[in-house]
Symmetry: C2
Subunit: 827 residues, 2 copies
């Protein structure tokens, strides 16, 4: 219940004002918590300022300071305050908890807590709990060769870096799904709270099942300021703030003020109340067996930015103002008065008393939980330790029957959905499928047989009429790519497995999440790449992204729905981490999906269209093809393994289809032409083996593509990407001719869009004629005929609104090649 | 005031339930509005289904249908309903309004209204208001060669396409800033409302000044379903919903139900009440001269998806369920019963009576406003018509004095901020600066002298101590790149000018907004590109993006803060629309900024670091250099205009600095070396003139880069982008050696990061030695010396935490070259 006597003031100063009253701490405890608070604050300042003299045993002089001062103090006090008070409850109630630090640059808070808990020294023995270790601990912070000012992967207990802002809550919810005993204590910065991804992620509570999932306890930190601005939520009325959280479906509990002793009591009482509420709701649901959506608690902590620092420096506000955001006093190298002020401030935290023997006293240490109950040591935050490989059905059992190549159509995506369904059925507590309301549209609805869509909102009568909703489900759908991706990241980093499905053109929405930005784990590639260097981090399941509804099927969406450039963004990432697969047919899709779900520590991107497609390879051939990643397809080739006139290459299902149809057109006109058909599944095969572990050597390149024959390469995405990957390959500069998406189009039929981009069969065949030397002159008539057919087909599409059936229903007619190829395929 | 008697039901069915009571419509009016509603609904269905027989003069047969059925009906009824009831108030109160259609695929609603208002036929005379015109109007919709199912740029009255979801509100707020008389009636879809960008954009009300800005009237359309899922906001309690909007700072007014007559009355009364509220708040603020933040009204319209359609088809729910999302009955080609059902449904809208002469009656037409008061004809939505060129101070007056090249340091960004300040001062009602809390950090705070940061939240005492906040300001800062970008797009598309500033690594957050996705104007590039084809669209100011805090200055952020790949994403866009500038120094930055602010219909990206930098060019030379876009710099060259041994090229300020220092190193070791220094400002100079209007011919390329000499190109971003742009240039495959960001780094000094990427002076000089044939052997000693110096510098940085001053403070020592070059520069 909201307290009708909530104060009107929105000032962060003064004695504690709180929704929950009470003084659970004794005088002695109060003193200890205050000492612990000071010790942690001292460490935070030490990291920012000190290169030498870590315990201030000598008077502070400029030579003790780091030459360049870096780091953020502003949010540290509030975060430390929250972390340490939750420790009391972890010990008291034996809670299983992790801490997620949402505010940007929050490392001083979490590092200092990990150091005081002892975890830091266990993981990094050189930063021991003594003066020498503290010296190293301080020096390494924001220092060349050292560690960053975010909760990077090197930070024990972190699954969330707090760099690019906005994902703390979605990560937290991802971590507690299917972890029924876990509480993710999650600091949400009030700057972060202004981002779109954070603003919508509060609604994650509509997807949390109190029986099978754990709980998130968000602490909105009204720190008051961003870099240089007040925050929106710190400057609206108390009533608006309360309404906002009631509206989001949380019961808000306020803790506001800066008077330390009363704040300790208020925070201790409030957090305990919230834990009791969480346990009460869980008990109620679990004992009754009836999942419901309670008003989960949220703490709103309003404390001054740079709390406990000097209120003013000269005549400028510091504590409780934006100037406390980063390094609080910047000119200590040149201003002796300010150096003295800093020293006085640091000494106010009593390092001599609190770190008398270079470490805190056993009495203070006793405030921390022990072992894996320490939030900095919880294995959930090193999820690879908990990861169990998926129980996988044999994907061969889902094979699409292919008697003749490119003759029968089948629905590759619907088919792989059956495999995913059975993966889901066999892994009911550690595999989930995520998507922004597109799972059905992406033809994956078979999965609902094994796990429905989680829905903790209200139910209507209609829902039983094709709704596929359930309180306990395996599919997570909210129309926020950010939230889906954040949930998946949290789920994977805490030791489980998952897959995100999305329309290809919309995946750019989460470019920055998948790839990069504001230094966090969330820039998932960066996190994984870093993890490879951090020895104690165990391998997590790969982050798997399935892109469908590809750009080549525009239907009515038109021009603005077309951008396959996500692959370019991913291809910029570290080759140690990213993998891109474009399976040409259903059996290849199965093989790739199986491979990705079994892999660890990668970001896997699979691109495949959701419509019906021609099928090319029987399962055993598909496995070989996908394992090789690239291959010559003899069943569509007429070079008999010898020197070809032209290499017709393709990558991507729709691109492959048109490339094969082009081969057919060429053979109709030039039956004697020696064509080599090449298909690429694993995009990074194209790159040099020096630059990517999947890359081919130049010798391998030549064996597939030749060194001097024209290559007509039909590609799913922007053609530049192939040029870039194949850069400096033997002959590639002169011979490699790539067709792909070139950003033209409108409301088009598939054929029309392809023609605009010259990725259609006619264009490809004409390309080949133009580039095969001995056809340049004698190919003129054939070229004319192809061009006329192309124009006719286009006109028919414009008139009827659909592609001419004879083109749409094309199949591969040269089955003789197939039979001839069989011995080779078996070999 | 919220009504304590709000009903508990969250069903969309039943007689109207509304916060505002009243029956403002007479019986006659009610009938007319119902007829108008039906006419518009008929047109919406016609667009989706009919290729022939537009008025159903014949019984409906399959050959009348489009071969492929495309389009979305689900949200059309609610949108039409809202639009037409607002028309009553436009006429009654002479309102100046635009309509923003947030839900995806909302074109049937806005197209049908534009057609009924007559605007559509005025803009496209071939779709006249008669049977023949209606035939064309129907056929073109979602048809090859026709128009899309979103409110694309071809749609009169649209500045927001509704493809990628989430930006309707930020666009609306952008449009009403500095348009004090404008009301943007904004439909927000409940699917869209789940996106992050939309969820935070409600807070735009904290940045709206009721004196100088207009108003946004949001209508949250609780349509109930997305593609295949219920929506979150339609399935929470009435109380939560109400609290949420009170919390966001709006007064919610509910209109709920499906019984048409009572819904007409409720909507008419509610919208009128809201308009009165808006006028009351504006009057109060304007008469008192005191800006305040009122509880602006929001309408929450809960109506069934596919409202007025069949409730069930066979035994499957349609109206009021997700099945009504797209084409409501899909199998009409093959199911004669369903074809009959469709015909019956369409005839229920009485086309024969309502379009008796092929068009609606004058009595119905009279329900529409006239001329520019029609929302489909408001010039605000064709903002180029309203655009006034900026009043520009002469940027030469802000020139940085450069006596000797690369000798003096200056703060280029702080300097250009003075120019921006004066642009702002001279354009106080049509220029704004946008940024996610980084304007001060980006060294642009000089602008606050001309316009403070708009802040309509509460004020604290501290704010007068360096806060730069004001209720009436010119700088817009919220920690949401999405909101900033959305505001800017709305502001520019409605005829004004603006600039977004952001840290380079964080700009990926809005990749999809700037570039593409879900077919909207918001994918700003796409919108602009389309506008070029739409003749009646007047040119708008360019969308200008200033990227600073570049990746090469990592400071304490480290690895995960590094991604310059936004340029790759932009470079994928249409060359007709995008421009990328990397000015090397302060005078070039001024020249580029001036150029960008004067330009129209482009997306301009300027990349420049915010720190102090060496200055290279006096203003007049900078103007010449920027106008050319690329140039040989004789003052740093020793080839005397003749054949060089090596071309040392650079693009980007920090890259240029290191390249020049490398030239110095080379000259120290090989004083006779003939070096040509080339600098690139306009990135698209590198591309062929065939592919981009700024591109060079091959002859121009050779004149700058030579055809056969080694080129050591130091680039700001990923090196592949240069390879891609320079692909197939004469000699580029063999000679072009590009250094750039390669995704390595950690906590680094600038030098250390450069060394990791081999973009530092030592690496570049070694590259040159390796590639100049006559140095390969005799350069060995120099190479060793350079390598040793590099290692020493690196070790020193690791020890002290800062780069060695002798490197950091390097300046160009060869001033003789400068003097020798002067006659050439003047020539």
């Amino acid at each position: 219940m909201s307290d009708p006597k909530q104060p009107e003031s929105i000032s962060p100063f003064g004695p504690a004002r709180s929704t929950i009253k009470g003084s659970p701490l004794s005088e002695d405890e109060l003193n200890k918590y205050n000492d612990f608070f000071k010790a942690s604050l001292y460490l935070s300042l030490g990291m920012i300022y000190l290169r030498e003299n870590p315990l201030l045993k000598e008077p502070l002089r400029t030579q003790h300071l780091k030459a360049r001062l870096l780091g953020h103090f502003g949010s540290a006090p509030g975060q430390i305050f929250t972390y340490m008070h939750f420790n009391r409850l972890i010990s008291k109630y034996d809670l299983d908890s992790i801490f997620i630090s949402g505010p940007g640059h929050g490392a001083p808070a979490v590092l200092s807590q990990a150091y005081l808990e002892g975890t830091y020294s266990e993981v990094y023995p050189e930063t021991s709990e003594d003066e020498e270790g503290m010296h190293r601990f301080f020096k390494q912070f924001s220092f060349p060769g050292g560690i960053g000012s975010h909760a990077t992967p090197e930070t024990p207990g972190s699954i969330h870096e707090g760099g690019e802002l906005g994902y703390s809550l979605s990560h937290a919810f991802g971590a507690v799904f299917d972890h029924p005993d876990l509480i993710a204590l999650t600091m949400v910065g009030d700057g972060e709270a202004e981002t779109g991804p954070l603003a919508t992620s509060w609604h994650s509570n509509k997807f949390l099942n109190p029986i099978t999932d754990g709980a998130v306890l968000p602490v909105l930190h009204l720190n008051g300021y961003k870099i240089n601005n007040p925050t929106v939520l710190a400057r609206i009325s108390h009533k608006e703030l309360e309404n906002l959280f009631l509206g989001y479906g949380y019961q808000p509990y306020f803790v506001e003020g800066d008077e330390v002793n009363s704040m300790h009591q208020a925070m201790a009482a409030t957090l305990e109340h919230c834990v009791m509420e969480i346990r009460k709701f869980q008990k109620q649901a679990r004992e009754s067996g009836k999942a419901f959506r309670p008003m989960w608690p949220v703490v709103i902590l309003r404390s001054p930015k740079g709390w406990t620092g000097p209120r003013k420096v000269d005549d400028k506000y510091l504590e409780g103002y934006w100037r406390a955001h980063q390094v609080p006093i910047t000119d200590v190298h040149t201003n002796p008065e300010h150096l003295k002020l800093l020293e006085k401030w640091m000494r106010s935290y009593e390092p001599d008393r609190l770190f008398a023997n270079g470490k805190i006293s056993p009495e203070l240490k006793a405030l921390c939980p022990t072992g894996n109950r320490r939030m900095s040591a919880n294995p959930v935050a090193n999820g690879g330790l908990l990861r169990k490989p998926l129980r996988m059905p044999d994907f061969r059992n889902y094979a699409i029957k292919v008697d003749k190549p490119a003759v029968t159509m089948d629905a590759s995506m619907q088919n792989v959905a059956k495999f995913l369904r059975d993966v889901m059925a066999a892994n009911q507590t550690n595999f989930r499928l995520f998507g922004p309301d597109e799972t059905e549209s992406n033809k994956l609805s078979n999965v609902y047989q094994a796990g429905k869509k989680v829905w903790m909102g209200e139910y209507f009568e209609e829902d039983s009429n094709g709704g596929n909703l359930a309180r306990e489900g395996r599919v997570m759908e909210i129309l926020s790519e950010h939230t889906c991706e954040g949930w998946l990241e949290g789920y994977v980093l805490s030791g489980r497995h998952g897959l995100l499905n999305s329309y290809e053109p919309f995946i750019h929405v989460i470019d920055s999440m998948v790839n990069q930005v504001r230094s966090r784990p969330d820039p998932h590639c960066k996190w994984l790449e870093k993890c490879l260097e951090v020895e104690w981090r165990a391998k997590v399941a790969s982050l798997n992204i399935l892109l469908t509804a590809v750009v080549w099927r525009q239907d009515h969406n038109g021009f603005t729905h077309q951008d396959p450039g996500f692959l370019d963004v991913v291809a910029n990432k570290s080759p140690e981490v990213v993998r891109i697969y474009l399976p040409p047919d259903g059996n290849c899709l199965l093989s790739c999906m199986d491979h990705c779900l079994r892999s660890t520590n990668y970001v896997n991107v699979i691109v495949a269209d959701k419509q019906e497609h021609l099928q090319y390879l029987p399962m055993e051939d598909a496995i070989v093809h996908c394992t090789k990643g690239i291959g010559i397809w003899p069943q569509f080739s007429t070079d008999r393994g010898e020197e070809p006139d032209v290499v017709m290459a393709s990558c991507g299902d729709i691109s492959t289809h048109e490339s094969l149809a082009a081969i057919d057109l060429l053979l109709q006109h030039f039956p004697e032409l020696k064509i080599r058909c090449v298909n690429v599944v694993d995009l990074f095969k194209l790159i040099s083996h020096v630059d990517h572990p999947h890359g081919m050597t130049d010798a391998e390149w030549v064996s597939v593509f030749t060194a001097d024959k024209p290559i007509i390469f039909n590609f799913h995405s922007y053609p530049w990407l192939v040029h870039r990957l194949a850069y400096k390959r033997p002959g590639s500069s002169a011979n490699l001719h790539v067709r792909g998406y070139k950003e033209k189009g409108n409301i088009d039929t598939p054929l029309e869009l392809a023609i605009r981009n010259q990725t259609d069969r006619f264009s490809l065949a004409m390309d080949a004629i133009d580039r095969i030397p001995h056809l340049r002159n004698r190919g003129a008539a054939a070229r004319e005929a192809l061009h006329s057919a192309q124009i006719k087909a286009r006109n028919e599409a414009y008139e009827t609104g659909i592609d001419p059936p004879f083109l749409k229903n094309w199949t591969w007619p040269h089955t003789g090649l197939w039979k001839a190829a069989i011995p080779k395929l078996m070999g």
